[in-house]
């Protein structure tokens, strides 16, 4: 009997999803990772004559294909939800993570855009607290959404500042 974790079940959280275009970013990321790893394996196999490198190549290919298949689900699994006093974020399918960050604990907000993000008009919003392990970020936001969300979060944090 396996039960999925759903930390916000009690709140009946209305998760906001990230842009569907974010799937492209995930796919390109997995492809690049797969190609780089495969190139190393091919080099080891053909140039260094390590015969077992083809096994690694097969494993890399399988992992990449699996990643490509689950990419849409991975993108859909990302969600965020603005509660009254804190921000909820969920990520991941295999490794599910739920994080709650009170607005008052926010130290700064970052907006980042990678090259593929820029092509698609997407942005990643990073939420930095005094704890290094918080690692809270929402990728795949449409530019205008990211800017709106940043302003909204700053406004909320201002009114609930708790200091350090």
């Amino acid at each position: 009997m396996s039960q999925r974790l759903d930390a916000a079940a009690l709140d009946k959280a209305q998760w906001r999803r990230v842009s569907p275009k974010y799937v492209v970013v995930v796919i390109v990321g997995s492809l690049i990772g797969g190609i780089v790893a495969a190139a190393i394996a091919v080099f080891a196999w053909l140039v260094l004559h390590w015969w077992w490198a083809w096994i690694a190549l097969v494993i890399i290919a399988v992992i990449t294909i699996v990643q490509l298949i689950i990419a849409p689900r991975r993108a859909r699994a990302i969600g965020y939800f603005l509660r009254d006093d804190d921000l909820l974020i969920r990520r991941g399918i295999m490794f599910q993570r739920f994080v709650a960050v009170p607005y008052g604990r926010m130290q700064l907000l970052d907006i980042e855009r990678g090259p593929i993000d820029r092509m698609l008009g997407l942005a990643e919003l990073r939420f930095v607290t005094a704890a290094a392990s918080s690692r809270v970020s929402i990728p795949g936001l449409v530019d205008s959404d990211a800017a709106w969300l940043r302003d909204r979060l700053v406004e909320l944090a201002e009114s609930r500042r708790s200091g350090l």
Partner: protein, 524 residues
């Protein structure tokens, strides 16, 4: 820039009066101390043959050192001239750096100005002070000087008032903390007068004998010279035997034994080069033991109206006062080897001491190097002042004593044994009076207290292995430090409940605190 620099150290309130003050007169010497020793070392290393010759008169004295080179090239007077100029320049720069280094304590901030070419002004806001530390290195103690460190959050952001006459540092620390806690200025005058012991330090300093006896007093007296020390009942004294035992039963000792065995094996099989490799390791480990032992031997902790004060050190002493609500987490940890003796160590996270700053950081996050269950029970109230006594004692007792009633803590279900075979029963948490207490670990048993008002965020996670077992893990994110608050295995429903409780508690308890400091809102 016109400003008056006052130098009256004898009045107790004189340093926290909003005027600019200079440092102790020996400051350049103390700050340059390491450089001077270094230069002297280089000179001695270069001239060692000459020095040996001077005392022993070696007949086959090789003439290859710099002095011979100077004499041979007929360069004696220019060399002396250069030496004189260099020394004069050093003295001049030191004197100037002393003149330009000033500080003042206002009602908003502690300010420090320093630097000759690169002027630096550093300002530590009083409401952002995470702690004040008085450090007294051996060398500085000889001159009766001490270093006051104003600890604030942020990387390399601390403000050092080095060096001040050690007599005034205690008073200054109290004054700054008093200002920081928002006490009215009118109260300060009487407090200041009460704080001068004897009342006439200026007279005593005038005679050489007086200065000498002052120095002797400094070394003999304990690390704390605080006149308003806490009631003795709250102070935990270090037991030398227990301290030595705790060091013997620690990880470095195991390393030491492994090294010694390797050494003996190496020597017996004739591989003597092994000793050359290993010997420095033994030396450094021995040094580590002696440092830890001497540091912890004079450990003391006490509560005061301005926060908890923790002192360390035998020759180089340090004593830090941490105001209330600056401690983000407290951990009790017990390595396996300490279990038969019932010893525990306590550590904490504060915003001022982030990890990896220096080796001193390790000692400064340790709030109790080793102590019995009773010691821990005495120290805990100082570190968690807001918590209800009965609840705290009951929880700490249940956590530390395996025979006590364990029902306070939640426990992982039996299937948690797949992931934590030895500790699943003792992996859990409890929330009481605004503090979440988590515990886990088999080899290192850990009990972590986190005031919900201090935590940063909360996370629950479930990977594939835990999903199969219907388990999850929880992690309360804290400010950087040695303490991490985790529950590695717990029932999924329990994790969801923890998530809900902790995320709500984090907001409620932080809100409950803010009315105390209405001025802090908006301007931070």
């Amino acid at each position: 820039m016109t400003r008056t620099v006052s130098q009256t150290y004898t009045e107790a309130t004189g340093l926290a009066d909003g005027e600019w003050h200079r440092m102790h007169k020996a400051t350049p010497l103390l700050r340059g101390g390491i450089a001077i020793v270094f230069v002297a070392g280089i000179i001695i290393a270069n001239l060692r043959e000459r020095i040996i010759n001077l005392f022993l008169g070696t007949p086959d004295y090789p003439s290859g050192d710099p002095i011979d080179a100077i004499v041979r090239h007929n360069f004696v007077w220019p060399a002396i001239g250069i030496a004189v100029v260099v020394i004069a320049a050093c003295v001049g720069v030191f004197a100037l750096s002393w003149r330009v280094q000033t500080f003042r304590v206002t009602h908003q901030a502690v300010e420090l100005r320093s630097g000759i070419l690169r002027r630096q002004e550093r300002k530590a806001r009083l409401d952002r002070i995470q702690g004040i530390n008085v450090q007294r290195p051996v060398f500085a103690r000889i001159f009766g000087a001490a270093k006051l460190e104003i600890v604030v959050a942020g990387h390399d952001a601390n403000l050092y008032l080095s060096y001040l006459p050690s007599k005034v540092t205690e008073t200054l620390r109290r004054e700054i903390l008093r200002l920081a806690s928002g006490v009215r200025a009118s109260d300060q005058a009487e407090v200041g007068q009460a704080a001068v012991p004897g009342g006439a330090p200026a007279q005593r300093q005038s005679s050489t004998l007086g200065i000498l006896s002052d120095r002797v007093d400094e070394f003999v007296s304990p690390a704390d010279l605080d006149p308003d020390a806490a009631p003795p009942a709250t102070i935990v004294r270090m037991h030398p035997g227990r301290l030595a035992g705790s060091l013997l039963l620690s990880v470095p000792t195991l390393v030491m034994f492994a090294v010694l065995i390797a050494m003996i094996a190496g020597a017996s099989t004739g591989r003597l080069w092994l000793i050359i490799v290993i010997f420095p390791m033994v030396l450094s480990l021995g040094g580590l033991f002696i440092r830890r032992f001497s540091k912890a031997l004079r450990y003391n902790i006490a509560g005061s109206d301005q926060g908890v004060r923790i002192g360390f050190g035998l020759l180089t002493t340090s004593s830090e006062t941490i105001p209330p609500r600056r401690i983000h987490a407290v951990e009790l940890v017990q390595p396996l080897a300490w279990r038969p003796f019932g010893w525990w160590q306590m550590r904490m996270n504060t915003a001022g001491h982030t990890r990896g700053k220096n080796s001193a950081g390790e000692a400064r996050t340790t709030t109790l190097p080793v102590g019995s269950i009773r010691d821990v029970q005495r120290v805990l109230p100082l570190l968690l002042p807001g918590m209800n006594d009965t609840l705290r004692d009951a929880i700490a007792h249940a956590g530390m004593d395996a025979h006590a009633d364990q029902s306070v803590f939640s426990s992982a279900p039996r299937r948690g044994a797949w992931l934590r075979p030895f500790s699943w029963r003792k992996t859990g948490y409890t929330i009481a009076d605004g503090v979440i207490v988590l515990r886990h670990g088999a080899v290192w048993r850990r009990i972590v207290f986190v005031p919900l008002a201090r935590m940063q965020s909360v996370e629950v996670e479930q990977g594939p292995a835990r999903r199969i077992l219907d388990l999850s893990s929880a992690d309360v994110h804290l400010i950087d430090g040695p303490v991490h608050a985790k529950v590695p295995v717990m029932d999924t429903r329990a994790a969801e409940e923890l998530f809900t409780l902790v995320s709500a508690g984090a907001i409620a308890w932080a809100d409950a605190e803010t009315p105390h400091r209405p001025d802090e809102r908006g301007e931070s």
